[in-house]
Amino acid sequence: MLRFLFLIVLLVLGHEQVSANPRYSDPDGCLSCHAYEGLSFIDEQGVLRSATIDSSHYASSLHGSVPCKDCHREVINYPHKVENTEVDCSESCHVEEPSEGVKYTHDPIHKEMDKSVHSGGWYKGLTGGNRLEEIETEQDPSCRRCHSNTLYIPEAQLEKFKEDFDHAETECGNCHQGKAWMGQFGGHILRRLIGRRWNNQENNQMCIDCHGDHEKMRDVKQEDPETLEEHPPSDRFVYSTDTYAKTLHGRLIADDSAYGASCIDCHAPLAWKHDIRSYTDSESASHPDNLPETCGQSDCHGYTKKPGNEGFTLTDMHNLTLVNLADFKQPLEEESLRGSAWFWSIWPLLLFGVIFIVGSFIWWLLYRNTKKIIPIVGGDRFERVMVGRKGKAGRKKAVVKKPAVKRDAKPKSEVKETKAAVKPDSSEPIVEKDKPVMPDKAETDISKVDNDTNNKGA
């Protein structure tokens, strides 16, 4: 049983002060206690919590005209218990959707969240009691873990907000007249319009805050979908953010490009973004059967839905071979070493290496007097196909004293001039054995360039 220490003062002193505000409404008289400064209690964690409502702040807030009991519905008696103060946002709300006339509720989100992998968290009932310090030990996140609301208007957008707020009088004020409306909703709507929307990088950072912590992720319990047994998480799960960062998606987002896919783009592609499920779940967006639909969202890989692209979705976006990159020790452990590509490839490599070394030695024995160096593999074919020589038969005899490739500058200039002067008609077939272009000079020079006379062919 919870024990609470209430510091209650029964005198109501702030009543007149608050009622000066025209928007004040307290039909249930909650503020008769809660307006008192210093009203606080110690909760089950031993944290001193303030229960004071600054009535002027409250009155000027978005909910200023909403009576307390519209949200805190469980509070019936007085004094009330702390459990009863929790607000269930999945119930219908005081706000009416203007287009539909239906009372607003978070119920669809609640239901969606219920099916997701994060359903174990303290989001139950979407209570206002989701406080960060309380979920530190929890495996699953609360609402506020992701929907952080620390800054009402972020600093970066403050200038723009002020500017827009100045114009709201003329723009929105045409229809929505009256200070009450502007004061109450103007800021709220503008904030939505300016868009406190996270970009993909910030979205990912939100996921990485938890999933990037390997130690934390190792403590997560995963449930087998068939046997319902809990088991420690796979490496694929623990290193999911590292492997993601290696993919093109991750890199593009890290480069701040608009064309990368963020975590929730693939894991919760539907409108609400809460439907994150395990890939083993057949309704999950990351289930192999649903991947064509997921990858083929608008603006992404639209062709995946078409026949012939079955292979596209086989691309592993959390490739475990890249997990080795994150953990240096793993490939060096004996067990994983035996299964590694290195281990298996070392045998053929060793074989080739031995052949290579022995072959090099034999080659040296056989051809150590040969100055003309020809590659072992493919050398003959090159001689035959590209150069037009006979190849092997000639090479064995080709024991020469000079290097085969010699750049002789002397005859070059001489020959060039004379040769250029005696140009035959280019439409003729160019080389004919009977009429060499340069009968004397060319012949002698060829023999100088390669002394390999056996191989001349023609």
Binding site: R251, D255, S257, Y259, H301, G302, Y303, P307, G308, N309, G311, F312, T313, L314, T315, T321, L322, N324, L325, F328, S340, A341, W342, S345, S360, Y367, I374, P375, I376, V377, G378, G379, R381, F382, V385, M386, V387, G388, R389, V405, R407, K412, V415, K416, K419, A420, A421, K423, S426, S427, P429, I430, E432, V437, M438, D445, I446, V449, G457, A458
Partner: protein, 350 residues
Amino acid sequence: MKVIENIKTIPKVQKFRYAMIILTSMTLLGPLAFLPQLVGSDDLCGSLCMRRFYLYFPGMTWEDFFVHVNAASIGVMAFSLIMITTLFFGRIWCGYLCPVGGLAELSSRMLNDRWKIEFRSLPQIQIRYGYFGFFLVAMPALGISACSLCNFITIPRLIEAMSGEYRGMMFLVSSVGLVNLGLLLLLGVFASKGRAYCQFMCPIGAADGLVNRLGAKMPFARRIRVAKERCTGCNICARNCMCGAIKMVDRIATVDQVSCMSCHECVDVCDWNALAWTTKPNHKVNEPKRIKKNTEIFPLPDWQAVHFNPVKADAVESAVKTGPAISVLSVFNAMIFLTVISIIIVGSFL
């Protein structure tokens, strides 16, 4: 010092080329990766990727294509720049700037020739465009990542690994890294002249080669051109050509413009000035420049970039039977046939 003497014998243009490759390696690859860091990347992947945006996925629409283009925006710009320079000057990127092919080439050139595998005599156009078609159409459909055989990941990671960076070492331990390292050794370091990957598997090179061949007939295009009447058939250019683009057809050097990288080495080694990196000559080649004492004098060379099939009868008659001359049709044959065959083979494995 023999090494210094050897270095001195390197032709001037080649020294410049090696220097350019080293320069681009230092600026484009880790650990500095100066140029990629200007656009917020530390390797050549992601938005710098030049090898992915033209993949065809079955049923792909133009919108999807534009998504791919936008995702790799800088790579697309670089790719189009490469294609434009190729049209005018030949494959300058491949030969002079590409750090990936260039590093493999330089490391291969440091090894003795007898330890190498000679890939240059293989039918490279057929293999290259067969793989290109497979890369474009079949690999996406089969779900094989285009990155799995890409050396644009491997070389930067290898450099990172050598500079002691964690990510590079870990990449080489992974299976993709292992396969790529094998490819680098087999088709790079232990290949003769080190350009076998460029010859067979580089998709940028394949597209570049087509542009190179397309522009070869245009008069403004600088290409490696042969003056047939000057060629003595000494074959030193064919031996030195790093991409196997020169073939002796009837003992005349014949340049395959689909494969030629305009690296200029054949020009440097030719003792007869029979090759040049030049535009189409202005003069009329069939008319003599002057007639002196009833002798027609043709002092100016006829620089030809594209060679037609020589008279077949002569080829058969000559004692050495050479391979067929280069034909562009083989590009399309290879793309169709080899792609279909490889789809069947790989599809049956999966």
